[in-house]
Symmetry: C2
Subunit: 605 residues, 2 copies
């Protein structure tokens, strides 16, 4: 029944060979991997304006040079990650690059922050998308957390069904969003050119008395939160159709160009329209309102924006399981993250991501404000480490034109480092938990690694010397009466060895006598040993008995305990049986060094 | 770790022989078994007045004759249940009496309604107690459900610790409550006698124009909800110290006398003071206020009233597990309800009651109004059936003075039957779910019974003819490489039989070749069979292989699958291992007719 439900939800299992068919074309990859980056257009400009407004309306013109600076950083990141794609064609996320060039610890730091960050991506994006919906329909405000959770469940199920199918479903909204924003920008620019906008905005270069370099840097770093998600492509190269590197590089440049154009377009329109951030209406909403009025086009843009924010979460569903797979392959995360599910996705990673992001949404009541700074720090730490790694690589390998590459990465590294430091100094009260949580994650990685290494050492054998050895065997059959189950268990045990003992744990003298007599009559060729129990437990006397057997056979024999278990015809019949055998199994197995043989008895009625 | 926590919560395990020591003395039994009945004083009079007030203030004098009628019914119930105690010294709840005299179906109807009713007792009492607290401290109103749940958890844990200890803790509040109510009544009566009360109340016998017989009967039946809990003593006879019947009968009479005196006292004071039920203050609170003013004594009475309502829930914790035990002994409920826990209580019944009443509290948001009618119907159905059963018994056995007994039970039966019918006709919209839920419970009883009977038939053997038979044996050892675990498994398997096959499920040709070569080098004396899998599952190929073995051995052999399982040093290491072996176990065991032998491998690091 459960398996049928799973089939309905997830779809039929697929062969390993079908994996190639699940690979992404460039256009599909753009949809799957870039929604996180592109969706940041919805709030990037707003973040800059929010900081600048602290210095008064006269300061808003700074948004233009700052946006251009962010654009410059985007260019640096794109060029740098393009270099990374060709240097690491098997998937060059910050984890791989940092580990390769800066050592394991740094790699784990990058990997750990990215893992945490993907969880935050899902939490932030689904909450922000919910915000967009509830802003349009205030009556849904009380159901914020539920809406975000429904979206997370939906995304989890879609991803369990497989990447290819998710892409088909999710590609259109991304294209729609890009189309809608471009229509908005073009219509807005036309309106400005024909003179339809009459805003009294400060001219570029106007002197502002109370602005400081610190404030400008803070605005710049806030604007940089729009660059989260850029790394997704270089992490996911193995998901691309062949030639994977070339396709990934092209996709990265496509994504960078679209993102840059949309971001600068929105920033320019916001400046020309003289738009000021408001608590009740987003900047994009104000631009759309000013351009089209509150008609069909306005609501379409708002709806599509909400949708793209939900899809941004989907980027993490591609990236998290792959990164977890890589960490698991290097034995820093449980092997379970390496298993591909029926539909070829890394199911455990997908489920883990879904559960933990849902938890974050519930804990933070779907409140994005406190999550976003954590999210940005989580991105810029691996950005910095990745570029530092690339710098080391240029210096070590010295390929042709290495000076240019080194320069690009050095500029990128310094910029991202500064942004990280600005985040830490200006927003420490919101991000301090990163500095508690990250060390825990990294210690966890090391502990897991050590355990796997120790286990491998422990299990290794010398095939020349260590060969199987034959020993004696004693089989213990606990019985509760004389039934078909006991008949079957004893038949099985006697087929394996002559050393079979039946054990009965009795509480009541009368019952003990009755059973002993009946056993004698039956005469199954196996000795019955009766243990008297003054507690109601059958486990304790049995354990003592097994200890006696162990002592008598002086560790020369294998001891096997046969435990019959009913296979019932209907699942609910299980409630009526098997409790004590389950307890006995669990206890004996973990406490004593015995083999537990579970003998099925199929009930037919 | 879990077991240490359990020890701390529940206490050390006790020997079966300590059971006698846990038996109840009369005074302790009064505390444990009568809090449900006695606590109804807190609302009995109020229920009557609420109905009468529909006919105006002039009708309140009817509360006196109605209270006397309720008192009469109480007398009838006490006498009747006293007869039951002596007729059924092993515990004569409605279930036993009805089953014995009216047939199994009627018994199950009585038993089922009582079980449901005990769950309702806990839900209603804990909610009503919470109401009393939150009325005194309105700031706690938002935490109603949490407070009720905390009380349920507390009661569950106390009862898991054992009845005796619960009684010691819980006896004092019951005595305090009885003391407090008697102090209140005596002080009130003195105040009335010395002329300190000046209320203009309608004289007894005043003509009331719009009162009907129906309304009087409705008021009477509402008042009868104060009699819930009277049956507890006769159900719990085996819990009494010897001579159990005599002690139980004495306890029953003590309880009846105290309940009757308190009930009529409160009714009289309410009448003399001219008290009218109010939405914001209970009748008892109004009486206490009028007698003592809002001082220490007033708050003490309110607090003790709240406490006694929580303890009323405790009655169900004694009664429910015993009734479930009786039904389980008759094979109408799962055997699990027959198991005594470490502290000699029927742990499963206690936990079941706690979980389901907590569920009801959550579902009804701790709202008593909709639960109380269900609760009353659930009590009066078994009351009626029990007395009908006693009537049949008198007629069948005809002991000395059987005419008197028959008359008592006939009057009681008719009265409770009429009350049940009045409940059904006047409050159908609130109690209809009983008529859906009860049949489901009773069908469940029958299904469970049939399953146990069928199983017993199926397992019965003819000890003269059916003897253990020795057959061949094949042991299948799934391997993933050549490690100490495989060495151990093969050593074990070869110690039992020569028919051992190692099976490797491979996904990758290179790895398969490498393993085959290494196996040859190792030469453990066991053939390695390689299965190629085009899915990632190792279960499917293995199942097909086992089917081949089954077919080859033509069902003459037992097939055993050896599954190694790591016993890790730290519990969290389990996350790192064992997933696939657990899946394999579960699947093979339920789908194929093979013995699963789980071989422990203890990791030391």
């Amino acid at each position: 029944m459960i398996s049928r439900f799973k089939r309905l939800l997830i779809g039929r299992p697929m062969k390993s060979a079908e994996l190639e068919g699940e690979k992404l074309s460039k256009l599909k990859a753009l949809a799957v991997l870039s929604s996180d980056a592109l969706s940041s257009v919805a709030y990037g400009t707003e973040q800059i304006l929010l900081v600048l407004m602290a210095a008064g309306f006269a300061a808003v013109w700074y948004s233009i040079p700052i946006s251009i600076a962010v654009l410059g950083l985007l260019l640096i990141l794109i060029i740098s990650y393009r270099q990374t794609i060709f240097a690491y064609p098997k998937g060059g996320g910050a984890y791989v690059v940092a580990k390769d060039n800066l050592g394991v610890s740094t790699g784990l730091l990058a990997g750990g922050s990215l893992l945490v960050d993907y969880i935050l991506t899902v939490a932030v994006s689904s909450s922000a998308g919910t915000d967009a919906i509830t802003s349009a329909f205030p009556s849904l405000h009380d159901h914020r957390v539920s809406i975000a959770l429904i979206m997370i469940v939906f995304l989890t199920v879609m991803n369990l069904r497989g990447i290819g199918e998710s892409a088909s479903v999710l590609a259109y909204p991304v294209y729609l969003f890009v189309g809608a924003i471009f229509v908005l920008i073009i219509a807005g620019v036309v309106k400005v050119i024909v003179g339809g906008v009459h805003a009294d905005v400060p001219e570029i270069g106007t002197a502002v008395s109370n602005i400081s370099l610190f404030m400008l840097l803070k605005a710049f770093s806030s604007g940089c939160s729009a660059l989260t998600g850029v790394e997704a492509v270089s992490n996911a190269i193995p998901n691309f159709k062949k030639p994977a590197e070339r396709n990934a590089a092209t996709t990265l440049i496509m994504m960078g160009s679209i993102l840059g154009a949309m971001f600068i377009g929105i920033s320019l329109l916001a400046y020309w329209y003289g738009i000021v951030p408001s608590a009740t209406e987003t900047v994009v909403s104000q631009i759309a309102n000013a351009t089209f009025g509150r008609g069909v086009l306005y609501y379409a843009i708002q709806g599509i924006t909400a949708l793209i924010l939900f899809l941004a979460a989907n980027t993490a569903y591609s990236a998290f399981p792959l990164l977890a797979f890589m960490l698991a392959k290097d034995k820093y995360m449980p092997h379970a993250f390496m298993v591909r599910g029926d539909r070829l996705g890394f199911s455990n990673g997908i489920i883990f991501l879904g559960v933990f992001s849902a938890l974050l949404v519930v804990l933070f009541h779907g409140d994005t404000e406190n999550l976003i700074p954590l999210y940005a720090v989580g991105v810029f730490i691996p950005f910095t480490l990745s570029q530092l790694g690339m710098m080391v690589r240029w210096i070590k390998l010295k390929p042709a034109n290495w000076g240019v590459g080194l320069t690009v990465n050095t500029i990128g590294m310094l910029t991202t480092l500064i942004i990280t430091l600005i985040f830490i100094f200006t927003k420490f009260s919101q991000i301090w938990m990163v500095f508690i949580f990250l060390p825990i994650v990294i210690i966890g990685f090391y502990k897991i690694n050590r355990h796997y290494m120790n286990t491998a050492d422990e299990l290794r054998i010398n095939i020349d010397k260590e060969k199987p050895a034959i020993k004696g065997s004693t089989i213990v059959v606990p019985v509760a009466g004389i039934t078909k189950v006991v008949l079957q268990s004893i038949s099985y045990a006697k087929s394996l060895t002559d050393n079979v003992v039946a054990v009965y744990v009795g509480f009541d003298e009368e019952e003990i006598e009755r059973l002993e007599k009946k056993w004698e009559e039956w005469n199954p060729g196996v000795r019955l040993i009766v243990l008297r129990s003054s507690y109601r437990s059958i486990i304790r006397p049995l354990v003592r008995f097994i200890e006696t057997v162990e002592w008598k056979t002086q560790e020369t024999d294998h001891i096997t305990v046969l435990i019959p278990q009913f296979i019932t015809k209907h699942w609910w019949h299980n409630i009526l049986h098997n409790q004590s055998s389950l307890l006995l199994r669990a206890y004996l197995f973990t406490q004593k060094d015995v083999v537990i043989a579970t003998v099925p008895y199929r009930l037919h009625r």
